[in-house]
């Protein structure tokens, strides 16, 4: 067998496997799109390619539910969470990468481990804390909890990335008289765009998925988030809103998908360096 045929076999096999993987990944997603276009209400009636496709559920979503409000709230929360996370994580990781201080060695790992502890009883505590500081039923409370939750893992990634930036760069700048913050701002920050983009993406999408915390901390209807709204559509045991839920989900997935697509370049290179120096 010549090398050429071997290569051809390898490539063909690879394509076949990848094609299979794509099919498995895409199937449920197409299915959701399909059922959002189905005229019926329930799952049992849905088909992947609807017979009488209708946009009725999308219309209903805007006309009869608070979908737009939820969407706006969620985008707001996601955006602020993203900005705050990038600032917090960027700074924290910089300190971890470049400075000596108490807790540097094990601090991050400690928090990574502590985060593994199941939190379902602890939600009580978060609720009362939010009450005590007057943040109950505000988006700020949610944002702070999300940001806090994002810090350990992402700081770890960012620190690894910073570690790959040669220290000589800071030192020469220091000799030129640059202060701590200027070094960070003018040297480290521009070089770490890829990892910051990754962190921005991670932190942007994480609030989309939370329906537990948001449902407990937020009580006003007009402050509700997408995840809670969508979840309520389908959690009602006696209700039958599967297709409506599907329509709502499609509209959630589209912008996130596009964001992924546009950030993909950063995404891979950001994690590259972040991963390699672990």
């Amino acid at each position: 067998m010549s090398i050429k045929t071997a290569n051809r076999i390898r490539l063909t096999l690879s394509y076949l496997i990848l094609l299979g993987a794509i099919a498995v990944v895409i199937y449920p997603i197409i299915w959701v799109v399909g059922s959002s276009l189905n005229p019926g209400n329930s799952l049992s009636s849905s088909t992947i390619i609807p017979e009488n496709a209708t946009l009725d559920h999308y219309r209903k979503l805007f006309a009869e539910t608070e979908y737009l409000t939820w969407y706006w709230n969620t985008l707001k929360i996601c955006f602020i969470t993203m900005v705050l996370s990038v600032i917090f994580i960027g700074l924290t990781a910089y300190a971890f990468s470049r400075y000596k201080f108490v807790g540097r060695k094990n601090g991050l790992l400690l928090f990574l481990i502590l985060q593994m502890i199941p939190q379902f009883v602890a939600i009580l505590a978060i609720y009362i804390l939010a009450f005590q500081v007057g943040l109950l039923d505000t988006h700020l409370a949610l944002i702070l909890v999300y940001v806090g939750g994002l810090i350990p893992m992402n700081t770890y990634l960012a620190k690894n990335y910073y570690d790959t930036i040669p220290k000589e760069l800071d030192e020469s700048a220091r000799i030129d008289g640059a202060g701590h913050f200027r070094i960070f701002w003018q040297i480290i920050l521009p070089l770490s765009k890829p990892i910051l983009a990754v962190i921005a993406l991670f932190s942007f999408i994480s609030p989309f998925a939370d329906f537990i915390l948001a449902s407990i901390l937020i009580s006003s209807d007009e402050k509700q988030t997408l995840a809670v709204g969508l979840f309520n559509m389908i959690s009602n045991k006696f209700g039958n809103n599967f297709t409506l839920f599907a329509a709502g989900s499609v509209l959630v997935a589209i912008p996130i998908g596009l964001l992924f697509l546009s950030l993909q370049r950063y995404f891979i290179s950001g994690l590259t360096a972040g991963g390699t120096k672990g």
Binding site: G40, N41, S42, L43, S44, S45, L124, Y127, I128, F131, L136, D137, I216, S219, D221, N232, S235, N236, K237, F238, G239, N240, F242
Partner: protein, 421 residues
């Protein structure tokens, strides 16, 4: 050694010192302290069940006009309200009035989340005795009834001319041509709420009743009758008349879906579903449940939904007035028209609007044959093990007897573990 001793000693000292300080007598901290609850508040908040706000809106408007108090209505899934009240109440974000099914009254009262209502006999006389009893726990009345409900037999008039007399007839129909439907009859009989009627129609019971009090130590879900009942339920699955796809958690919505698409000719469901079925364009007929093969009636669970006053409310007197107002005859009638949920108001029961309505009458008749859901907190331990037994038998993994024995054992253990007073 001295140091070792000193440490706990200082702690103990500090602790006792701390125990001595704290808030001064009579100060308020968290927790609802009602000050002068007769003063007219600016606003009251009421938590209504999901999608049921339409029935209450008019009444609220009238109340606002009459008393000049703003009333804010929020829709929250009824079964989540207890959980939310537990946190929102003490935080001061809670409502003045909640709505809850009566089987939650016991736990809510024990936790002190809701408070007994003080209304005159003239008010309680408005409602059927059984509904008032359902909202009574430990001799005190917690709230006023909003609707009464029990599962009934619902059929698609296009496929079925009239409701069958007995389940045997129904089974024959389901084995026959089914009026063109895929399934002749569907019931969520792996959910204990729906299956209970069959089990108890054959002679099973949840808790032994003795003069109005329930004995949580005597669970009758594995007695001869219950086993016979489960045997009968299982036969529907065994014969393939109930598909496997309606077993388990999501069965309810699957059945609803099949019925609204005309794939099932008849179902067992409660009054809350009527409106949805009509909206889906199904011409429904409603009847009491067909008789069991032993000639007995299906003894379905009767549930009473009520409005209750939160004990965190600062305006309990006005909250009670609000409850009284929205459950009065006039407003109950409006709610019935909007939501098709049947209010247990005596005068309305005889009103042609209900008496001549097929669906409402069916619910009323079925209610007479049913038993109220237990409202003692031990009931919380029954649902899951009982549902497991139903499922195991329906899927043929256990014999009915073995499944129920095991469920009763588990229920007993859970009660023992979680309800030691």
């Amino acid at each position: 050694m001295k140091k070792l001793l000193a440490l706990p000693l200082t702690f103990a000292l500090a602790a006792s010192a701390l125990a001595a300080c704290g808030p001064q007598e009579g100060t308020t901290s968290t927790g609802g302290k009602k000050e002068d609850s007769s003063k007219k508040p600016e606003k009251l908040v009421i938590w209504e069940d999901q999608e049921k706000g339409v029935g209450t809106k008019d009444a609220i408007k009238k109340f606002e006009e009459k008393h000049g108090i703003k009333v804010e209505l929020k829709e929250i899934p009824m079964l989540d309200q207890q959980e939310k009240l537990r946190l929102d109440g003490p935080a001061g974000k809670g409502p003045d009035v909640i709505t809850t099914p009566h089987d939650r009254i016991g736990p809510l009262a024990i936790e002190g989340l809701i408070t007994p209502v003080e209304v005159s006999d003239d008010v309680t006389k408005l409602y059927t005795e059984s509904s008032v009893n359902a909202l009574t726990y430990d001799g005190k009345l917690y709230g006023l009834p909003k609707s009464t409900e029990t599962p009934v037999f619902i059929y698609n008039k296009k496929m079925m001319d009239k409701a069958p007399e007995s389940l045997e007839d129904l089974m024959a129909y389901a084995k026959g041509d089914k009026g063109g439907a895929q399934y002749g009859y569907l019931a969520n009989w792996t959910d204990f709420y729906f299956a209970h009627g069959v089990l108890s129609g054959f002679g099973g019971y949840v808790f032994k009743e003795d003069n109005g009090t329930l004995d949580p130590k005597d669970v009758g879900l594995a007695n001869e009758g219950a086993v016979e009942g489960l045997d009968y339920i299982t036969s529907w699955y065994k014969e393939g008349l109930f598909p496997k796809g309606i077993i388990g958690e999501k069965a309810g919505s699957t059945i609803d879906g099949l019925f609204t698409e005309g794939k099932a000719a008849s179902v067992m469901n409660g009054p809350w579903s009527f409106q949805g079925y009509k909206d889906a364009g199904i011409d429904i007929g409603v009847a009491p449940m067909p008789k069991l093969p032993n000639g007995e009636y299906v003894k379905t669970f009767i549930g009473v939904k009520g409005y209750n006053v939160s004990s965190f409310s600062k305006n309990q007197e006005w909250a009670t007035k609000l409850v009284e107002f929205i459950t009065n005859e006039e407003n109950a009638k409006v709610r019935y028209e909007k939501t098709a949920e049947i209010p247990p108001v005596v005068s309305l029961m005889e009103d042609p609007i209900i008496a001549d309505n097929e669906a409402a009458k069916a619910v009323a008749v079925q209610s007479e044959r049913g038993v109220p859901m237990p409202n003692i907190p031990e009931m919380a331990e029954v649902w899951v093990p009982a549902a497991n037994a139903l499922q195991l038998s329906a899927t043929g993994k256990s014999k009915p007897k073995a499944a129920l024995d095991s469920a009763v054992k588990t229920i007993g253990q859970n009660i023992e573990a979680n309800h030691k007073k």
